[in-house]
Subunit: 516 residues, 2 copies
């Protein structure tokens, strides 16, 4: 189970099919194979050893894909760095992973001196930008041009393929270790559940440092399809590119999907080539889903649910469940083929159907553990099971419903309240752009339901109006007791709302009070 196997086979079966389209450049699979074999040679010539780590700090591009494949070809391990991180966080992840090579693009050059200043072992720098190679760096294209191709090192199976840092929402980032077998079997399980679309052109706009973007780009390589790369999500550019390249598949996080639908020129574009819209990474509101299904009638919508720790795979909710009137559109689907899922209580015992508990999962895509963190690994992987931290239930038909992160659940007056349920109701209000529901300290109830909201441009409402809106759909104890309006919400590198940051100020004073 080698990840490079996909490239070898695509170059064999579809040599003239484009592997990548980016910045107006098109590279066929035949070209991609040659470039990867040369780039791998260049990396080895400059001292990369088998098992050595290569960090990539760059926006999505064809070169990012080539960098991933070349690292695996050379027997190395990739650390795809979160592009939303500060210099300090980047330094932490390079130090922690022990990266010996850093591939960097134009957008991240400005951060470099600050990152390098605090690194004990400065890595070899490879410049993958579009301009002239800065001094002190190796050029990505020069490495390819100068190096004679080498044979694939053949790393695979349980060998480490990537270290993906997660934990933007909880404490210090942890490096999730995924082997070649984890990533490849996870993608195979998804494809067994969701056969590839007939058209063979995917738009890769979800960032490659995130498992969802990485796995879906890899699925296209495995099936010999094309990846169109856009450096960053830009709604207009996505609309133009889908129309121009007749893209058939796209993966979006809900905030991206919302931005597309909200774009004032949305209706001008011919998006009928879209056969499938994959979404995931965070829950989607019912209101947004309804708009999306209506706005993109040619597309089948699929909700992918998974964690980095499980190769991004746990379940998929297929298009047939996305009916406006169907309760199953709120489900994350049944477990994908080969995934073994249970809902358990705090003692790890399976709970009855329709009862909320923690979702645990087992299967070949489950990570090897957290890099250099045996205690975190032991807490998350228990008896072969991955403890996801997600609160969920399974209905009688085997469909899974994720109701919240366990740590985002609010216990108010002895009642469990799922923040996601309240957020879904708030998001249906026509004035609400983004919202987050958290528990804040309350003397009598333990926690009180508190909402933080941003409004759509030009729209207005007040706390009273929103609470009244909630009361129409929710029991009184679930409704926010107070609502705060802000200009923006703090987002993680993967586009998730950082509830920890929202909660922190309220609980800090409680803790300080307690320790005083």
């Amino acid at each position: 189970m080698l990840l490079t196997q996909a490239l070898h086979t695509a170059a064999q079966l579809y040599p003239e099919h484009p592997a990548t389209l980016c910045h107006g450049r098109e590279r066929t699979y035949r070209q991609a194979l040659q470039r990867v074999a040369r780039l791998a040679a260049g990396l080895r010539n400059h001292g990369l050893e088998e098992g050595g780590r290569i960090a990539i700090l760059a926006l999505n591009s064809d070169r990012y894909q080539e960098g991933l494949l070349a690292c695996w070809w050379a027997g190395g391990v990739v650390n795809p760095v979160n592009i939303r991180w500060s210099a300090g966080e980047i330094t932490y992840s390079l130090e922690d992973s022990g990266a010996r090579v850093l591939i960097v693009d134009d957008q991240h050059l400005p951060l470099l001196s600050q990152v390098l200043a605090s690194l004990r072992h400065p890595p070899l720098l490879v410049y993958a930008g579009e301009g002239a190679t800065p001094s002190g760096m190796l050029g990505f294209e020069a490495l390819i041009a100068e190096s004679a191709p080498i044979a694939d090192a053949g790393a695979g199976g349980e060998s480490l393929a990537v270290i993906l840092y997660t934990g933007g929402t909880t404490g210090r980032p942890k490096g999730v270790m995924l082997s070649h077998g984890n990533l490849l079997s996870g993608v195979l399980m998804r494809l067994a559940d969701l056969p590839p679309v007939a058209g063979r052109v995917g738009l890769s706009v979800a960032p490659l440092f995130h498992i969802a973007g990485l796995a879906s780009a890899y699925a296209r390589i495995l099936t010999g399809a094309s990846n169109i790369y856009l450096p960053l999500f830009d709604a207009l550019q996505v609309l133009e590119t889908v129309q121009r390249e007749r893209a058939n598949e796209i993966l979006l996080v809900p905030t991206m999907l919302q931005a597309l639908l909200d774009h004032p020129r949305f209706a001008e574009f011919d998006l009928s080539s879209l056969e499938r819209v994959l979404y995931g990474a965070s829950p989607i509101s019912a209101a947004l889903l309804d708009r999306a299904v209506a706005g993109l009638p040619s597309a089948g919508f699929v909700h992918l649910y998974g964690l980095t720790e499980n190769g991004g795979q746990i379940s998929a909710n297929p298009p047939c469940n996305h009916k406006a009137d169907g309760g199953l559109s709120r489900s994350v689907g049944r477990p994908t083929l080969g995934q073994w899922v249970r809902i358990v209580d705090e003692q790890g015992h399976e709970v009855p159907r329709n009862t909320v508990g923690e979702l645990i999962a087992r299967g070949p895509s489950v990570m090897q553990g957290y890099w250099n963190r045996p205690e975190d690994t032991a807490a998350t992987l228990r008896d072969g099971w991955l403890y996801t931290g997600d609160a969920a239930y399974m209905d009688d038909s085997g469909h899974l419903f994720v109701v919240d992160r366990i740590k985002d659940m609010i216990i108010s007056g002895g009642e469990n309240i799922y923040s996601a349920e309240v957020e879904n109701v708030l998001a249906r209000h026509p004035a609400v752009a983004l919202c987050a529901v958290i528990g804040v300290p309350h003397d009598a109830w333990g926690e009180a339901v508190y909402a933080v909201v941003t409004l759509k441009p030009g729209r207005q409402t007040d706390a009273e109006g929103l609470i009244r809106h909630c009361r129409e759909a929710l029991a009184a104890y679930k409704c926010p007791k107070s609502i705060e309006f802000r200009e923006s919400l703090p987002l993680s590198g993967a586009g998730k709302i950082l509830k920890r940051d929202l909660r922190e100020p309220y609980w800090q004073s409680v803790r300080q009070g307690a320790s005083a």
Copy 2:
């Protein structure tokens, strides 16, 4: 990657769906899980250890499936014994695998005393028949009834799952070791290529001791579908069962497909429920394929190509290639997703497209090796590649064409002749039932092309007529120089014609002459 994961998940998602139908008995997945957990307990209570081998010597049945799953549940390894073997061959395989338990059915009781007489360590005997349990044996149903269910031992990944003895066509049987990961990933790769049929009822008539039957029965468990078991292939029973149970999928070897189409009552049955007919295990003649496509118009035909050594998976030729006028109907398809295939010369170097060489394969389903045969393993697994012994070429579109076994190729007057090509032409003659083309010694040409033929009942032809028929489609040097008519041809346990047995008498005299 546990094989029992499929049962756990099917029982969770589809508890009331039938797992098996056999002898008028129906067991749901809920029942199957309970029975397997109890049977596993019974086997452990009677001394089966983790990694211990259980042999099953039985016709296909629901109990066979339960025996497989219970063995894996208990952490054991299954040796599914070839039901066409003699007592001596059975003894050899039990001895070689070190089986400590033997599950046996009514049909194989008569062989038992002879098998046991020459075994050094007689195994625990479990009777899985339909009558009263003979003395000295444990009853399959009694074991289930008496044992309290145990937890799944959790064996998986690289742990050994089955030892499948092959080599009916060449020398002493060799035990192919497939791990849990090999079998499960092989089935996942096939499902990624060929999504499950919409109907969820498969007819399992291909024997479970053969990888093709085993893998397709397992694919149904993984997708929560039903397996209908018939003890032996009987054309009329197959026709009746497909009609009665509205079966959607069936896997057949070409000789079975031919027997169905030849059955005098074929046209009486409603076989319109069949969505897919999988065939494989040996090549199919163009004549038979044409009849099959015409005779079963509702079914998509899929040619599966693989070896036991590769978990049965290498490639699949999908229904769209099975057009009467299309050259691709002769292909075994493109490599299935995740399979890496090359065609190489005798030095292991890749040959150009459309050039015949040896097909080698690599991927997660490739066996761990041959049981206790490191030399055979080293000869077959080289640098991570499985050397299949199949002569094949890949066309410009990446489709594979298997032309012969390398050892069945005939070299006559310096020309390569593929026995399968000649057999295909012979099989199109209306009087020919079965045929085999071999090379026999020839003083001037090295080898001469020689055909052995059985005729259809009531049909007649002679050697001259058949040779004339061949000349119409083949170059003269490929046509048989002589033809022998027989009542029957020697078949292996998997239904393959034993060409070795046909060749042997001719070459024996040459070898004796050479050594004299």
